[in-house]
Amino acid sequence: MSAPGAAASGGRSGTAADWGGFEDNMQGGGSAVIDMENMDDTSGSSFEDMGEMHQRMKEEEEEEEVEGEAGAAEEEDGEFLGMKGLRGQLGRQVADQMWQVGKRQASRAFSLYANIDILRPYFDVEPIQVRARLLESMIPVKMINFPQKIAGELYGPLMLVFTLVAILLHGMKTSDTIIREGTLMGTAIGTCFGYWLGVSSFIYFLAYLCNAQITMVQMLSLLGYGLFGHCITLFVTYNIHFHSLFYIFWLGVGGLSTLRMVAVLVSRTVGHTQRLILCGTLAALHMLFLLYLHFAYHKVVEGILDTLEGPNMPPFQRVARDIPVVSSAVLNTTAKANALTL
């Protein structure tokens, strides 16, 4: 046991770079028995450690080569200055070692947290699956006594949120919404992502309180697919401007997607009070969000009429608007004429 150890440490001085460094770190001295005291508790993969040890040995070799030439001059200095020279060199070695340890820990932390491979399993879908889930999100399940399966996938919800952003932008542009302290794009992105992430977290917190069996990713996925109904409704009603049509879509399409989410949550919760709290909150927030999106970002010609007429105008008059500039000009003059006759 000791003979191979001695031979290994003897031959370690420069040539056997990789295995010698590994030995140095893990076993502290070349014995074949692994001493658990010297094991590095914070080490990640041992391959990672070995690679870094390898690099460290290489760097130290290169430093030794360079230092070998200048070593003579330094030692002369050290001898002349007595103890100060000795401390200088010792200090340099210690600082060097601390730098190596710090760099190793920082790169380990970075590779742990900034690794996008953490998200990879949530994007592992096929187009057929995405389409099936989109259609399923509008169909409420009937079986609520058995916990329904929720796919923990993030691709569909993310794409739906971006689609909602695009539709919102379209709606804001065609209704000439004026954003004072911000930008159109920023508002749209903030609203949609804020809703998706914020309401998911809130309902997850409520689910934790009400003892429901759902994870955060599943909640994000469920709410994301629930936005499919919102996308359809807004896409249709931003282009066809009848309020009654909007209310029909709100109740029908919005109601269906809310019912589905509620049914899935009910199937995963036990107890009447808990079910009521959880599902009531989710239904209220989801339906109110659709209402908010329609009315807050779909302001119609009020602003333009105000600037044209001044104080004579009644403050509330709704006229439908279309994209082509010509028809809107015609509409404006018609509305103006109407207002003047009032």
């Binding site: 003897g10 130290e60 001898e79 187009p127 995405v130």
Partner: protein, 230 residues
């Protein structure tokens, strides 16, 4: 000599400490030139010495070649192999400058600001790249950014045409012309970028990668179409 012998016994960490004193006075002399040998490639030194005009012309030619590849997408790998971000930067800046300050209302600035367009383009490209990597793509981060940036070229051309048409007038005819031009260029952009990017994906997931690209160029086309000058 004495120091070198000591390093074998005491280990590399405390090499110099084993033998601090030196018996003789050794004058240090010699040359501090690093042997050129095979360590540093010749190219680095030769491009430092060339005139600035050569460097700029070489980069401009590379960018121009990539523009041609975008306008006639032919499934070549030139865009992917030597990626660069000069072209996307130039296109992004020119598009943002042309889109600035177009709003129908003079009270507040409702049109997209320069920073907004800039952020949309780069943030959108980053999101699409991350998405394609997460779906199992084999393309690298900057290659994808390069392709998406270069494929904004048809939309920049559409913006130029729209501005020229708006100079002539802003009636229904001009709107129809602008609509046709923008839709055509949007289709061209999307097709060009999918021609380059879709090959790096597993074959059954191409649709999943194409959809965000479609959304991205749709938003940019929408900003171009609804631009009305002050």
């Amino acid at each position: 000599m004495a120091a070198a012998e000591g390093s074998g016994v005491g280990g590399p960490l405390f090499a110099g400490l084993a033998d601090v004193s030196i018996s003789e006075d050794i004058p240090v002399e010699g040359e501090i030139t690093v042997p050129v040998g095979s360590r540093s490639p010749d190219e680095d030194y030769s491009t430092l010495d060339e005139p600035v005009r050569d460097t700029i012309m070489r980069d401009l030619k590379a960018v121009g070649k990539k523009f041609v590849h975008v306008m006639y997408p032919k499934k070549s790998s030139a865009l992917l192999r030597d990626w660069d971000l000069w072209g996307p930067l130039v296109l992004c800046v020119s598009l943002a400058l042309m889109l600035q300050g177009g709003s129908a209302d003079s009270k507040d600035d409702g049109g997209p600001q320069f920073a907004e367009v800039f952020v949309i383009i780069w943030f959108g490209a980053v999101v699409i790249t991350l998405n394609s990597k997460l779906l199992g793509g084999t393309i690298s981060f900057f290659q994808s950014l390069c392709v998406l940036g270069y494929c904004v070229l048809p939309l920049t051309v559409a913006m130029l045409v729209c501005r020229l048409v708006l100079l002539a007038g802003s009636g229904t005819v001009s709107f129809i012309i602008r609509l046709i031009v923008v839709v055509a260029m949007f289709g061209w952009s999307t097709l060009a970028s999918t021609a380059f990017l879709a090959d790096s994906q597993p074959p059954n997931r191409k649709a999943l990668v194409v959809y965000p690209i479609f959304l991205f160029y749709f938003v940019i086309s929408w900003m171009i179409l609804t631009f009305t000058p002050q």
